[in-house]
């Protein structure tokens, strides 16, 4: 499952941050973009499993783990029109492709007003994180 790979990347990043900073206790916030269609249940389960391993094997404690979703929004670079992913219907194949590489949305989506493929993903692209 890709969700496991995403969760692994989060925990690996915290472990790297621990090595760099010398800290071993962290608060982590993970922001999940709507465009990547992450299965949140699987993602949370994977994060919790890997978090426990990081604590046991690396001595890195994630004291709080907050996960929030970000809506996917687009802005056309040609005509300036703004719209949201929730207004679009993608095929299952397109959803799967966008799940792995969000930018391929440029193949499957066009500006609803001027039909251009040249648009910006304003928010909700993929997974990113903040640590303190």
């Amino acid at each position: 499952m890709h969700e496991w790979a995403l969760a692994e990347a989060i925990i690996l990043s915290v472990v790297e941050e621990a090595k760099k900073s010398g800290k071993n206790v962290f608060n982590v916030e993970v922001i999940v973009g709507e465009l990547q269609s992450v299965d949140l249940e699987v993602f949370k389960f994977a994060l919790n499993e890997l978090k426990t391993l990081a604590e046991q094997e690396q001595g890195v404690l994630i004291k709080s783990l907050k996960i929030s979703r970000e809506r996917a929004k687009f802005r056309c670079n040609r005509c300036g029109f703004e719209w949201e992913l929730s207004n679009e219907k993608l095929s299952e194949d397109a959803k799967e492709a966008v799940h792995f590489v969000p930018e391929v949305i440029h193949t499957y989506l066009q500006c609803p007003r001027c039909k251009s493929h040249d648009f910006e993903i304003v928010s909700g692209r993929g997974v990113y994180m903040r640590v303190s």
């Binding site: 890709h2 790979a5 990347a9 790297e16 590489v101 903040r130 303190s132």
Partner: protein, 255 residues
Amino acid sequence: MSAIDPRIASIKKNLSKFNFALLVMSPKGGVGKTFATALLAHILSYKYNTISLLDTDLTNPTLHIVLGLNAEDMRIIEDRGIRPVKVDNKLELMSLALFVNNYSTPLRGRDIENVIKELLAVTKWSGDVLLVDTPPGFSDTHLELFKLLSVENRVFITLITSPSSIALKSIERITSILMTELAKIVGILGNMCTNYDDEAKVRATAYKCGLEYLGCIPFIDKIENYFGSGLIKILEKLGSFPSTLLKNIELLTRC
């Protein structure tokens, strides 16, 4: 709170198994980079168990076609990430064609950086060497590859050129900027050479640039007929050229 891109940690882990990464580059389009990449993959497979290929021509990926694959038959296989597509027992490939079939993907600079990062973060390679086919020029794709690959790997470049005067002039131009970046260039490989004069022009350019001359692939008529398993037949016809090229690459990537 400081923001972190979690893909960087995945990229480091995924790339750590490679002996080295080799980028196939040319400032000029149409000189046969993709074809040369496919031949190089087979040549490198003489020595290494598995060669991992990455097609970074994001707008128009075609390496899979030269390797004999049909985009519509390629399937995404998940394994805590994605497994590259098996080309044969020795070669594996990751390409944006896996996600967009035969469609094109128009991308701006920041999107290009994101796709390169995403492909490197999600792909679970099994090869010993990473061989990268790049689009023509020296811009977002190449700069992002240099940045990401050099964190974990020894990165080398093979320059491809045809014997045309424009292609050779372009090679001189890109070499001078790459040298200032302290890039490690394996050498210059000619393609579509029809006679001794063509080879001499490529050799002279390599000498002028202070680079190794890696030889020339001759012009091959109806090249499409050799895509896929036919590439092996081409190598068989090239005599000692493949093994000499492999020795050169080995020598130059050793240090």
